[in-house]
Symmetry: C2
Subunit: 217 residues, 2 copies
C-alpha cells in the first residue's frame, strides 16, 4: 500500500527564483532572496556551482532561516548532501545529476523533487516518474548555463503541457517581456535567474513578474 | 549511554590510494584501482572534482563493485550524497567541506569518517572530534592540489603523532623515495595519488610502496 505523498505537497510553482551569486552584482544572496520573497516569489532554488561545500551549506542554512517563516520552499540544486544537511524542502536534479530513483530514496517521499527535461522525449519519460514537477529547459537561449541544449521555444512548452502529468515550470531566457507568453503556452510557472538576481530592485522585479503571471492565468 | 563504534572499525590505513582521473594517463579508474588493489592498497578514496554528479556516482558504484569483494574500504571525498547513494564505507572531509558534526549525523556512526588537518592547531582541535582518522596534509609540496597550505614536513608529522589520539595518514608529495621516512616519523599510513595513478604499472607501484611501509613499521 503506497500513500500518495504528492497530494500532500501543495506548493505554488508560479514564480520560481533560481540563484546565481555570480550574477548578483556583489549583493548577498540573502538580500536578493529576502527582497524577491517580499515581491512574491513562490519557490527558491539554491543553485551554485563555483563555491565550496561549506559555503554552499552556510548559504543554504541562511536561506532556510529566511524562507521557512514565510512558508516559501527552498529547493537545493543537485546536492542531496546539502539538502539533507539543512533539511531543505526539496531537491532539483538535472539529467547529469543522480538518477531520480536514488534521489527519491535518499530524500524521502515527503520532499519535493523536480527534474529538468531538455526535450520532448525526456518529458515523456518523466511521465513514468513520480517527480513533483518538471523544469522545461531551456525555453529560450540564455547565457546563464554553459551547456544548454536546443531551446524548446513556446511550441515545445505547448506540446509538453499537452501530455505531461506533472506541474511544469519553464526556465531559460525568461523575463518580463515573455513571461505571459510562457504561461499562455501552458506552463504552470516561470523560473528566472537574472531577471531577478541581476535586477537593480529584486523586489520590484519579482512584483512585476508575479503580476504578469497572475494576469496570464 | 554511547557505544564506541570506532572500536568496531578495524581498518588498515597503511597504504591509502586517492584517485585522480586527470593524472591517470587515459587509463580508467577501474583499471588503476583494480591493479592497485592487487598490489596491496588498504583503502581507496574516490576524489574527483571536475566530473558531473552522475559520473561521480557511476564511478563510485564501479569502485564499490571492485573493492567490496576484496574487503578494501571505499571512502568518498566530500560528497555525502554519493557516499549514501552507493553505501560507501566512509567519507573524507576537508576544512572547507561540511562540518564534521553534520557529516557524522548524515553518515551514521558505523561509517569511517576522515578529516584533513593542515596544521598543528587543526590536529589539536581534531582531538575533540570522534573522527576515525586524520589526514595530515600536505607533508611535502605537491602539484596535485591547487589550494595547498605550508607543508607540514617530517617535523610536523612527528609533532602531531606525539599528541593525536587518532590514526594518521600523511598525504602530499609522497613517493617511494620518502615513504619510509613518513612512517618513521610516526604516521600510521601514507596516502598517494600520482605515485600510483600516474605510474605505468600501478600494481608494481603499490607493491613497492607497501613493502616500504611494512619494512618501516
Amino acid at each position: 500500500m503506497q500513500v500518495n505523498f504528492n497530494k500532500m505537497k501543495n506548493f505554488d510553482i508560479s514564480l520560481y527564483l533560481v540563484t546565481d551569486l555570480e550574477l548578483s552584482k556583489d549583493r548577498s544572496l540573502e538580500y536578493i532572496v529576502e527582497e524577491a520573497a517580499k515581491g512574491g516569489v513562490t519557490l527558491v532554488q539554491l543553485r551554485e556551482k563555483n563555491i565550496s561545500t561549506r559555503e554552499f551549506y552556510e548559504l543554504a542554512k541562511s536561506l532556510m532561516a529566511i524562507l521557512k517563516p514565510l512558508n516559501i520552499p527552498l529547493i537545493i540544486n543537485d546536492r542531496i548532501d546539502i539538502a539533507l544537511a539543512v533539511d531543505a524542502d526539496g531537491l532539483h536534479i538535472g539529467q547529469s545529476d543522480l538518477p531520480y530513483a536514488v534521489a527519491r530514496r535518499l530524500m524521502g517521499y515527503e520532499k519535493i523533487i523536480g527534474l529538468s527535461v531538455e526535450n520532448i522525449q525526456q518529458a515523456r519519460d518523466a511521465n513514468n516518474l513520480d517527480v513533483d514537477y518538471i523544469g522545461l529547459s531551456p525555453v529560450f537561449s540564455t547565457n546563464t548555463k554553459l551547456d544548454i541544449n536546443t531551446p524548446l521555444e513556446l511550441a515545445g512548452i505547448k506540446e509538453i503541457a499537452s501530455f505531461t502529468k506533472h506541474k511544469t515550470v519553464a526556465i531559460g531566457g525568461i523575463n518580463s517581456s515573455n513571461a505571459e507568453s510562457i504561461i499562455a503556452s501552458g506552463a504552470d510557472g516561470i523560473a528566472v535567474v537574472s531577471a531577478i538576481v541581476s535586477h537593480e530592485n529584486p523586489k520590484q522585479a519579482a512584483l512585476h513578474l508575479k503580476s504578469l503571471v497572475t494576469n496570464a492565468k
